[in-house]
């Protein structure tokens, strides 16, 4: 195995350049090194001006998502020797505006997560002295995989619809809504319908399926969205023929 590998890293310094460029760095090629280790080597030893997000370095915080050779990846879980002899192109996550170097603007995503009301909603709360809400293992299974999202945004990066239409609510937000809709303790599905059954909600999705392919946690947002389309369509037809007020 060769000693080193070249990383072609996107640079964008708004005070210096008008658009992003690629800068080459030669980093050691060690067997256990991830792309993130390469980036940290650059920052520590070669070029302290490089900016990028990272935190846990073990695939759970969702901070280090970037585009590696055009694919959305967690850089802490993407290994350099899989790309040997290189070069490896490291760019900011696609479909997001670039703040600086490898750092993207994530406000849009954060706002969308909030819009789907990601908390348990009840029509009637049980009195405290009646104890906690019980849930069987099967009921947990119904929504469990949708609860595994680490908000890494790789799915938004993989989704061509989000790239073309930034108002699209997006895979993670809809999967998160499903995490609550399918939770047996939740009674808020009808409220979330108003957010999800819109032109920029589930109806913008054309089931490309790349979000599920990109997801590092097996959340399957594509499946969540398709299941929801059927529910939303059924609810809409019901509301049309038998409005809520009269039910």
């Amino acid at each position: 195995m060769p000693d080193t590998i070249t990383l072609q890293v996107a640079r964008y310094r708004p005070d210096i350049e008008r658009e992003p460029t690629l800068q080459d760095y030669v980093v050691p090629l060690r067997k256990e090194w991830a792309v993130l280790d390469g980036l940290n080597y650059i920052k520590d030893q070669l070029d302290g001006t490089l900016s990028f997000r990272w935190s846990c370095r073990m695939g759970i915080c969702g901070s280090c998502g970037m585009s590696v050779n055009g694919d959305p990846k967690l850089t802490c879980a993407t290994f350099l020797d899989d790309y040997a002899p290189g070069p490896v192109r490291v760019e900011p996550l696609a479909n997001f505006p670039i703040v600086r170097d490898l750092v993207v603007e994530i406000n849009d995503f954060m706002l969308k997560l909030r819009r789907v009301k990601p908390w348990l909603m009840r029509d009637q709360h049980k009195p405290l002295d009646e104890g906690e809400y019980l849930q069987t293992p099967e009921e947990l299974d119904d929504y469990k995989k949708y609860s595994l999202c680490i908000n890494c945004m790789l799915c938004y990066s993989a989704c061509p619809i989000y790239g073309l239409e930034p108002e699209f609510l997006g895979p993670a937000a809809i999967a998160l809504a499903q995490r609550y809709n399918l939770d047996s303790r939740d009674e808020g599905a009808h409220q979330r319908l108003d957010v999800l059954s819109t032109d920029e909600g589930v109806w913008a999705c054309t089931y490309v399926g790349e979000c599920t392919v990109a997801c590092p946690k097996g959340v399957d947002p594509a499946g969540a969205i398709q299941r929801y389309k059927l529910i939303a369509a059924k609810e809409s037809m019901l509301d049309l023929l038998w409005p809520r007020g009269a039910r």
């Binding site: 819009r115 061509p160 619809i161 073309l164 239409e165 319908l193 108003d194 957010v195 059954s197 819109t198 032109d199 920029e200 909600g201 109806w203 054309t206 389309k229 059927l230 939303a232 369509a233 809409s236 037809m237 049309l240």
Partner: protein
């Protein structure tokens, strides 16, 4: 600020979805027979009398009509989105929607005249 709940999209999607299912199940064998095997002479086509009897049967008429109409609305929905995304023509939304669903409606009327009259 954000759009209201859509009334048209759920209906459009249900039509697209059912059209997708029936077209996937039934159109391939029909096109294989009438478009490839019969014209190539690999299988001899049914004689006119038999085919007329099959097509004249009320159940055949209804099922075929349903199949063709749903398939047209499947095309309308999917093609509309292909133009939006593939050719990035969202700005021509009204025109595209009119042409796609208009086409499906015209096709349905023609199908009714051919099959149900």
């Amino acid at each position: 600020m954000h759009r209201r709940r859509s009334t048209a999209e759920p209906v459009a999607w249900l039509l697209f979805s059912s059209g997708g299912m029936v077209s996937a199940l039934l159109l391939p064998v029909l096109l294989l027979l009438f478009g490839v095997l019969f014209p190539l002479g690999l299988v001899s086509p049914p004689d006119h009398g038999h085919l007329l009897a099959v097509l004249s049967h009320p159940i055949t008429r209804l099922v075929l009509f349903g199949l063709l109409v749903l398939s047209l609305f499947h095309w309308a929905h999917r093609f509309r989105y292909t133009l939006f995304e593939g050719l990035q023509l969202r700005r021509l939304d009204t025109l595209i929607t009119t042409l796609c669903y208009g086409g499906a409606i015209v096709g349905s009327v023609i199908a009714a005249r051919v099959l149900l009259s």
